[in-house]
Symmetry: C3
Subunit: 268 residues, 3 copies
Amino acid sequence: MQFANIITLTTDFGLKDPYVGQLKGAILKYNISARIIDICHSIPAHDILTAAVTIRTSYNYFPKGTIHLVIVDPGVGSQRRILAATAGKHLFIAPDNGALSLLFKDNMIQTVHRVENASLFPSEISSTFHGRDIMAPIAAAVAGGMSLDKVGPAAKIISCTHLNLPEPVISETAIKGQVLHVDRFGNIRTNITTADLSKFQPASFSGIRIKGHTVSNISNTYSDSPSGSLVAVIDSAGYLEIAVNRGSAARLTECCIGDPLVVLMEGS
Amino acid sequence: MQFANIITLTTDFGLKDPYVGQLKGAILKYNISARIIDICHSIPAHDILTAAVTIRTSYNYFPKGTIHLVIVDPGVGSQRRILAATAGKHLFIAPDNGALSLLFKDNMIQTVHRVENASLFPSEISSTFHGRDIMAPIAAAVAGGMSLDKVGPAAKIISCTHLNLPEPVISETAIKGQVLHVDRFGNIRTNITTADLSKFQPASFSGIRIKGHTVSNISNTYSDSPSGSLVAVIDSAGYLEIAVNRGSAARLTECCIGDPLVVLMEGS
Amino acid sequence: MQFANIITLTTDFGLKDPYVGQLKGAILKYNISARIIDICHSIPAHDILTAAVTIRTSYNYFPKGTIHLVIVDPGVGSQRRILAATAGKHLFIAPDNGALSLLFKDNMIQTVHRVENASLFPSEISSTFHGRDIMAPIAAAVAGGMSLDKVGPAAKIISCTHLNLPEPVISETAIKGQVLHVDRFGNIRTNITTADLSKFQPASFSGIRIKGHTVSNISNTYSDSPSGSLVAVIDSAGYLEIAVNRGSAARLTECCIGDPLVVLMEGS
């Protein structure tokens, strides 16, 4: 399989330090024509689950053939493996710590290789920055046309680390979910998906309760609700989202990651 | 008219979420060789006026032929139109909500098309992210050489949304303005321009009053004032700016967006 | 010498204002095929020393031929010079205010030119933004193939501004250093290097004291210490770093930039 010369970055490096810049330099050093696109560098430090959600909900907006580096790596320098996994003609390079969990869970991963071909690494490898010293040159080499087989030996999917994502609990009269993410606008992304909702007749929907507030409809768009009031929509990745038209739902409901919400369904 | 394969981004998406990354992916998916440059993603959420000021004071530093996406879109999903407007061989794609107001006000806009050619959109359009699902593919297609006529039908300039910008009030003895923006350095950008000042003889200038402080000269550069003291300069976009040499004018004057200032002129 | 068409940016402009975008536009206006890579825009405002540390510890991860713009410029508009200096087939363009101090100190700079060829500048130069109006077009021209001689006359290295970096004090029984930087993870970078440590026998190392805490070993990797406890490592740039495995050393020790630390050595 041939990959495009495009590499995306999803990390917890933040933007106050030069780590992202160094990572990009290391890619260009091995492949001067590589094109590098930032997905997000604001993953909370060491938060593998947020990295897993981010890459799962974002990779598919990129062209087939894109190579995605996912570097949230609290175990850097230890014996944890580094993986190069393919899904739908995308390649993902990440520590084997669960960062690719949602791709595994949704049965998207097709092949996995261990990143072990030391001939591609620089002569000095920092024990605290494998993203720059191991993952970057590997991504650069594959983006430049190197066969995936040369990355290292194949690995079994079952041998890879899978994180447990908090799953909604579905009963006959309700879906109990929780808050997965609060974005810059104060929009609340939940772990309830259109697939969960479609297990009920639309007519049976009878409201959403979150932190003492009730939302009585699932709308098509934020503007279906008066300015300043709560609205539920299906977000751009297919998850149930609670928002406030021209305002912040997180501020209005005082809601945080992990808080519960319930979608009420009349017995159907 | 032929455009360059360069697309700039001005949004209120922030950098903590993956929205900017998804937007870039959507551009590359339609035009894999497009070059994407960030102007700013830190426009305050839903702040159309700041977006309008940002694109007005920044676009002209880019090469002719550049395509500018301006996505501050609180009405996303509603019936508000999306515009593709040309000015001085630049193309601007934005919701019709006032984001291009200052370009209209300064009579820079030459043509406007409505973005309506659904054959360019992906099969699924999120009602909460038209930047990614409508504006990105359109920008990508035009950057890749598609004729502007294919974007959608022409629109009348007069039919487009114009925001009212707070204008300075000029009398015989004073210019009363207000604070438009406070930058990272604490420099205070006002809405008073060199054009406003040039309505008076330079000799008639007799000081600037802001929040109880007085600045007695307009200097050429920050360093014309002692370290730590207030200085007025004409900023890099032609606006009167109040600064502190090697310090923060906003902190010294406790000044915020919207606060008034007065340029005093002796009767001339 | 021929340079690559890659330009990196290290500035104190932050990301809330459009200055970085305008700078990139100005580069592309003079050289539409230039590739621009951000190293860091979060240098604290006017903090020349942090800029000097950042470029010194980052440039070498980029390919030879890269051009580095380093723009922390509190004296903008004054008579301070602008330099174009070469080191190891990299080019650095910066105000002559100490931003290149560590490259001078480590005897890496080979040639220096003054940036004075006004024929390369735009017709209007803002006195508050020489990065955009002077440094960007010069970098763009050299990246596009212009000979370095055309930038301006050669300058003597000894005539350039050198900042004093706080140096560790080495006695027979201790290295007294200080905290240079605290990164996003709360990792504490000190000014003590492997070169300083190598002046002692490894066996003589008998602990590190920082803010009342003791670290008893220098480890290979964060994971050599239990989760939540202090660990000392050599960081990815060769400096002694104090960290907490999966936590924040800065929070645990309540440590700030400038705080002292001591590496204890048994008399050897």
